[in-house]
C-alpha cells in the first residue's frame, strides 16, 4: 500500500492545527473579552467556513492565488513559491477552513472562567498577557484539547478545499481523503478500503487518547 496519502494527511493536519492554535489563542481572547463594535462582522467572517461549501472556499483560493491573477502573481514574486497545487496552498486553505473549529471552543473555554479570576490577577499587579498565560490558559486545558482535536479531525476529513487548491498531485497534495475518492472512482475498492480503515483506526485512537487525558484533567478538578 502506498502510505504517501496517509502521511500527507497527518502532516497537513498537524501543521494546520499547530498554526491555528498559535493564531487562535489571541483571537479567541480578543473575541471573549474585547469591546469593539465590529464584533458581529468579525464573528460572521470567522464562522463562514462552518456554513460555506468547501468547494467555494477552494475555488476562491484557487482564483486568488493563481499566478494569472494579480494577487497570486504578487505572492509568487514575494516568496518565490507557487501556492496553487502545492502543499503550502493546502496548509493555507486548511487554516482558513478549520479556523472556527479552533477559535470557538477556545473562546467558550475562556468565557466559561469567572471574570473574577482575571480581576484577582489584575489586583495583584499582573497585566493582561501575564494573566492570560499564567491564569486563564492553565484553567482551559480541556477546551484547548477539544479545540485542537476538532481542528485536527476536521482537517483530516477535508476533501473539497484540498482537491480544488491542491490539484491531487501524488506525493505532494494527494491526501488520504482524495486518494480514497480516486481509488473508488477507479473501482479499486480494496485499496480504498485499506486507506479508509487506516484513517478510521488512527483517528479513533487519537480521539481515545485525547479524551482519556481530558477525563483525567476534569476528574482532578472535582471539588473534594
Amino acid at each position: 500500500m502506498d502510505w504517501q496519502p496517509l502521511l500527507l494527511t497527518f502532516k497537513l493536519a498537524s501543521i494546520t492545527s499547530i498554526i491555528l492554535l498559535v493564531v487562535s489563542l489571541p483571537l479567541a481572547y480578543w473575541l471573549a473579552f474585547g469591546k469593539f463594535k465590529a464584533r458581529g462582522i468579525i464573528e460572521a467572517i470567522i464562522g463562514m467556513p462552518l456554513v460555506l461549501p468547501p468547494s467555494v472556499i477552494g475555488f476562491y483560493l484557487l482564483l486568488a492565488f493563481s499566478p494569472s491573477y494579480w494577487f497570486g502573481a504578487w505572492i509568487e514574486n514575494l516568496i518565490g513559491l507557487r501556492i496553487v497545487f502545492s502543499f503550502t496552498g493546502l496548509v493555507i486553505a486548511s487554516v482558513i477552513y478549520s479556523l472556527p473549529f479552533m477559535v470557538y471552543p477556545l473562546r467558550a473555554g475562556l468565557q466559561s472562567l469567572p471574570l473574577s479570576l482575571q480581576e484577582a490577577s489584575f489586583t495583584m499587579g499582573k497585566g493582561r498577557f501575564e494573566t492570560f498565560y499564567k491564569i486563564l490558559l492553565p484553567n482551559c486545558k480541556p477546551a484547548i484539547l477539544t479545540a485542537f482535536v476538532l481542528t485536527f479531525a476536521h482537517t483530516v476529513g477535508e476533501f473539497g478545499v484540498v482537491l480544488m487548491i491542491g490539484g491531487n498531485i501524488p506525493g505532494v497534495t494527494k491526501v488520504a481523503s482524495v486518494a480514497i475518492y480516486d481509488e473508488v472512482e477507479a473501482l479499486n475498492y480494496t485499496v480504498a478500503n485499506q486507506y479508509a480503515l487506516v484513517l478510521f483506526a488512527i483517528t479513533f485512537a487519537i480521539l481515545l487518547i485525547v479524551y482519556s487525558i481530558n477525563n483525567r484533567l476534569l476528574r482532578v478538578r472535582q471539588p473534594a
Partner: protein
C-alpha cells in the same frame, strides 16, 4: 466622600444599590462615566482629564465574594502569585501561619472548606502589603461562627499591617464589629453616613431600656393572649403577648419590644 487613612469603612444598603460597583470603581475594575478618585494625593481617576490609572498600578488588595482563588495553584502558590520579582517571600509564610493553614499549604483550593478558602483569599490580598484593602461581602457565604472567626482575623491583620479598609456588607453585626464609619447607599447615592452608632442606634434609646428587635415567624391566637414565635438575634423565642398586640404581630413583620429595666432587678450570673 473621603476616608481617613487607616480607618475601616463599611458600605451597605439594599441589593442593587451599587455597593459592589462602587468598590470595583475604586479598584479600577470598572470605570464610571463621571468620577474623580484621589489617593494619597495621587490621581487615580479623573474622567474630565481622561486619567485612569489601571488596577495593576493602584496598590490595592481585593477580596472577591466568590474568593476567586486560582484553581490550578496550591495555597502557597496562590499567595506567592502576588509577589513582585525580587521581594522577600517571607511574607507568604508569615501569612500562611497567620491563617493557620501551614498543614494545608500545598493543597489546591477545591480541597479546602469555604472558611479555609476565605482565609486564603484574605491572605492573598495582603501579600503585596497594600495600603487599601477592599472586601466585597467576603463573609456572606459563611455560617455564623465562621464569620466571627474571620472578623477576628480581619481585625488582627488590620492591627498588624495598618491598611485602610473598605468592606461591603449586609451584616449589621459585622458593621458594628469592624467599622469606624459607615455609608449607606441607595440607587447609587449615599443616603446616610456616620459611625455605626449614629446610623443604627435609634435616638430614643434611653440608657436603661432593653430593646429587643425581632421578626415574627408565627402567631397563634388564644382566648386571652397570642403566642408568637419570633426570630430574635439569631435565636427563636416564644413570647406570650396581650391580645391587643395581635394586629402588629403578623408573620414577617419586624418589631421592637421595649422593657424598662430596674437596675435593682438585675443580677450577674457567674458562668
Amino acid at each position: 466622600m473621603s476616608i481617613l487613612e487607616g480607618s475601616i469603612l463599611a458600605v451597605t444598603g439594599p441589593s442593587g444599590a451599587g455597593k459592589t460597583t462602587l468598590l470595583r470603581q475604586i479598584a479600577g475594575l470598572v470605570r464610571p462615566q463621571n468620577g474623580h478618585i484621589q489617593y494619597h494625593g495621587k490621581l487615580w481617576l479623573d474622567t474630565n482629564s481622561k486619567i485612569n490609572l489601571p488596577t495593576q498600578k493602584r496598590n490595592i488588595g481585593f477580596v472577591f465574594q466568590d474568593y476567586a482563588l486560582f484553581p490550578h495553584l496550591t495555597v502557597r502558590e496562590n499567595l506567592a502569585f502576588g509577589l513582585e520579582k525580587g521581594t522577600d517571600a517571607a511574607i507568604v509564610e508569615e501569612l500562611i501561619d497567620s491563617i493557620e493553614l501551614r498543614q494545608l499549604a500545598d493543597r489546591k483550593p477545591y480541597q479546602l472548606s469555604g472558611g479555609q478558602q476565605q482565609r486564603v483569599a484574605l491572605a492573598r490580598a495582603l501579600v503585596r502589603k497594600p495600603d487599601l484593602l477592599l472586601l466585597d461581602e467576603p463573609l456572606s457565604a459563611l455560617d455564623h461562627s465562621m464569620r466571627g472567626n474571620l472578623q477576628e482575623l480581619i481585625l488582627k491583620f488590620h492591627q498588624q499591617y495598618g491598611f485602610t479598609m473598605i468592606i461591603v456588607t449586609h451584616d449589621l453585626g459585622e458593621i458594628f464589629r469592624l467599622a469606624n464609619q459607615v455609608i449607606v447607599l441607595e440607587n447609587g447615592k449615599i443616603i446616610k453616613r456616620g459611625t455605626p452608632s449614629q446610623i443604627y442606634l435609634p435616638a430614643e434609646n434611653t440608657g436603661n431600656d432593653l430593646v429587643l428587635y425581632g421578626e415574627v415567624l408565627t402567631s397563634v391566637i388564644y382566648p386571652d393572649h397570642i403566642l408568637v414565635r419570633a426570630l430574635i438575634q439569631q435565636n427563636i423565642q416564644e413570647l406570650k403577648l396581650p391580645l391587643h398586640m395581635e394586629s402588629d404581630f403578623h408573620p414577617g413583620r419586624s418589631f421592637a419590644l421595649r422593657y424598662a429595666l430596674n437596675m435593682a432587678d438585675i443580677t450577674l450570673i457567674d458562668k
